[in-house]
Symmetry: C2
Subunit: 582 residues, 2 copies
Amino acid sequence: MKGWWNELARVDLSSFEVRYDEVGEGLLKKYLGGRGLGARLLIDEIDPRVDPLEDNVLVFSAGPLTGTTIPTSGRFSASAKSPLTGTITDSNVGGSFGKEFKRAGLDAMIVKGQADEPVIIDISEDGIKMFQTDLWGSKTGVCFDEIEKRSAVIGPAGENEIRYASIVTDGYRVFGRGGLGAVMGSKNLKGITVEGSKKVDVNDQEKLKDYVKKASSKIDSSPVTSRGLKKFGTPILVNLITWLGMFSKKNFRECADEEEADELSGERMKEEIVEDHEGCYSCPIRCGLKTKIDGKEGKGPEYESVWALGSNIGLFDLDKVTELNYRCNEMGLDTISTGGTIACAMEMKEEGIWDDMEGFGSDVTGLLYKIAHRKGVGKKLAEGSKRLCEEYDCELSMTVKGMELPAYDPRGAAGQALSFATSNRGGCHLRGYLIGEEIFGVPKLFDRFKTSGKPELVKRAQERNAYLDSLIMCKFGAFALDEEFYSRFLRSVTGVDFTISDLHGIGERIYNLERQFNVKAGFEREDDLLPERFEKPLKRGTSSDNVFDMEKMLDQYYDCMGWDQDGEPKKETLERLDIPNF
Amino acid sequence: MKGWWNELARVDLSSFEVRYDEVGEGLLKKYLGGRGLGARLLIDEIDPRVDPLEDNVLVFSAGPLTGTTIPTSGRFSASAKSPLTGTITDSNVGGSFGKEFKRAGLDAMIVKGQADEPVIIDISEDGIKMFQTDLWGSKTGVCFDEIEKRSAVIGPAGENEIRYASIVTDGYRVFGRGGLGAVMGSKNLKGITVEGSKKVDVNDQEKLKDYVKKASSKIDSSPVTSRGLKKFGTPILVNLITWLGMFSKKNFRECADEEEADELSGERMKEEIVEDHEGCYSCPIRCGLKTKIDGKEGKGPEYESVWALGSNIGLFDLDKVTELNYRCNEMGLDTISTGGTIACAMEMKEEGIWDDMEGFGSDVTGLLYKIAHRKGVGKKLAEGSKRLCEEYDCELSMTVKGMELPAYDPRGAAGQALSFATSNRGGCHLRGYLIGEEIFGVPKLFDRFKTSGKPELVKRAQERNAYLDSLIMCKFGAFALDEEFYSRFLRSVTGVDFTISDLHGIGERIYNLERQFNVKAGFEREDDLLPERFEKPLKRGTSSDNVFDMEKMLDQYYDCMGWDQDGEPKKETLERLDIPNF
């Protein structure tokens, strides 16, 4: 069984001890790596009810395909209980960090405890060491300047345990959602450096070469991956989503019009601020954008960020939005939750609900600093919009399970709406990205306004993304590659035969394991609903005058998932999927 | 009227504006400067009920004698509402910062609002400027290395708004008590730099010269200031206070014995770690200690710190205590409240009251870091022992009004006990230091175990310290100088005649103004009591088997203060002292 070393490191920051262990082959076959392995390891380490900023454990994991020559296989995963949502969560990142980790000889690393003073974990083929660091307090850019190796670091936001703090790698590739940066901060772990040169052992090099060639050609010929993402990066979506009436504006109160959105579009970015493109390790798409504003160079913004820090807070000035994006990366803040929280606070201010908001003005730039340092008005914003609205007893938080929703108004696509509602890390588009089926028509177009058949579609998408996140492969590749490719990649690398159906079974297992974690953490059916705002239709645009019967979709979704009507996996479902008791 | 410029600067960090103003002569004559002026300016700026970490205002002030050649006149004052106690508070510092401030042409500076990003205020004869700074996150030592001018900075503790964070100047001269560092932190004010060369205008230079000469000779011949403090610094007190059975141990559960205390004594320090002495500007006593442990150089510990970080937490290892003291200065933590809070937590742990204390072990060194950064177990400790005990519903916090008591067991001196209880910034020894009267016999010895006459003595001491803090003169000088000296100094510098009775009147006015602030902030008679522990006698030592009737002393104290039996200043008292309505 190639592509895995079975190598697991257990790092205890409280005692400064490192133990090396193995992951059983059985576990790898059942959970692959990345997100699946992370979830499986996590349930042995923590009780689902722990305070995520007190007794949490972080699992970093590569997958069987990480570090190979397979296009879009350069990703790397981190898992923990989320300080933002209280659910199990994971986030994965592109760039080259994962490749180095894998080449240093590791499949996964469990980090527990808390260091007495700020430390950096250094990973190399010689093993894992811990060093005290003077970088605490520094923005991420300073860290990347000072640290010569490949590194994943937190900014001030993570240090100060902002509930949506990110972990930043390679200068701007970010473990963005769910506040994993805050978990690092709570452990006094400023960063991780890594260097490795081992080659991933491949079972059938020839076959792999052949599949890689075919996959690359597919990627080069798909309009989404070649023309769209390759030429404009993710912001190519701005105009499209606006035409569909789903590019929300001002905390989902309405949608941006074409003129406004055009200011933030991929086309406009290319014209005005993009200097160059760059790709993750082993990726031909190269959707990353190197940009420049006012003589200052940086990376991004991505589609989600240009929306969250732009349209969602009513800001249609590309330079300013880009500046905010740079700052979020410097502070180590998730752009989506940052924008969503500010958008919510803006509406609260307009409505006169939150009136002691000294320092909350039109200058959002300074606000990011205040959030990251929990200063003044930033103290309350640092907790995210859900907790903020709970304090003021209002319904203006556009979140699911406490996570701020991303850049698609759910009133424009029934499947995506259900996917947001049932995502087991909260309001996110990456657990089940129905935009493929409902908008791009990949692999097949479904009417975005119809609810029938969507629960089954969401289930399939959630399974697919669960196994993709465990291999780990980028979801952008999946716009071009059909699922047969993943089966082939895995077989040629590991020598083990995984059919598409096997892969979906693994995805289903992972999804249910995560769900079971959340059930034990106290989540219920009512947590699988969208904010009240979405029960009323949009007033303009091509998605107007439309709402979905979420409760009905939920009934059907639970049925097809094998869950009871409270949303709990049935005993027979857990048994069928061989999910351990915990 | 010399010795004052009447110059007041108003700095608004929110708008980056500086306005220059004058302090009226009437105000200066009524409140002198320093603490008195600070309190008087503060009541115009803030409502006593504000959240001290949200809408607070900081007043920095020199006094009429600051920057002159008068011995011990090198001090400088800061006032605000305390985040630790909720009372009005001030703290003053030695060194040379005050002299520079005065010589830059200012009497006081009011700092309000909150900067968007960390700033430093720079004061010079050309005016006040604000600069953004990269020093946020840095320990104080790094700041002093980087900043070439005289500066007052906060460490990580102030940045993270630890309720007992200090402001550090000149490397180790500290505005220690009451959490003024947290107020700076809440304003994103990392530091203040200052440089000035104006000379303080003196009315009668010849007379002043004469008085200075006489005062210096007094200081040189007093055993406390010349032999004790000059030779050993403040830790000369350790053995004396131990012999008196008042050198508390382990959260005031008992008192240290001679053998234990000797490990921390001034004599031991001189033998083992003291390298040199240094004095504040214009001070011949030079009680500051330059020390060295394990090749590392630093300053202190002072008497209070060697107790708080030593005996009070059951640690009798001079090197370790010294290391903790260095760290408190680096982090910007008040040593007394830090030690008091840790001592309290240790007892809670022993008693099984606080059981989720992961990371709270015998290693106090790492704990200081955690407190300053609100990490892990440090989160709860960062709030101080009073809030900690409220959370766990126990009576183990050795505080008055939320401020941790200093290094004298109140069961050994009735006046000091009453002074602790009624101090209007909480459990502190510097509002009324009865150790002079009850132990040193300065100016006259009173039986420490008797309560009769003590309320009047406490009143006099509180008045005296209020005007000393406003001139501003160091209390150590007062061991050698009788009050007539202050009247002479003031007259020769300002040309205005202040009798000793005038000075006591000013002290009384200041004390009542502060009290009135506290009454309006919600403080009541029950806040003027010592912790329950002191209702039971000590079991061993020369202060054992003794408790005081605090309620009775309080009745008498209120009477002689002109307050009603709820502890509120009577209307006629306020009118007599000409205290404004606010």
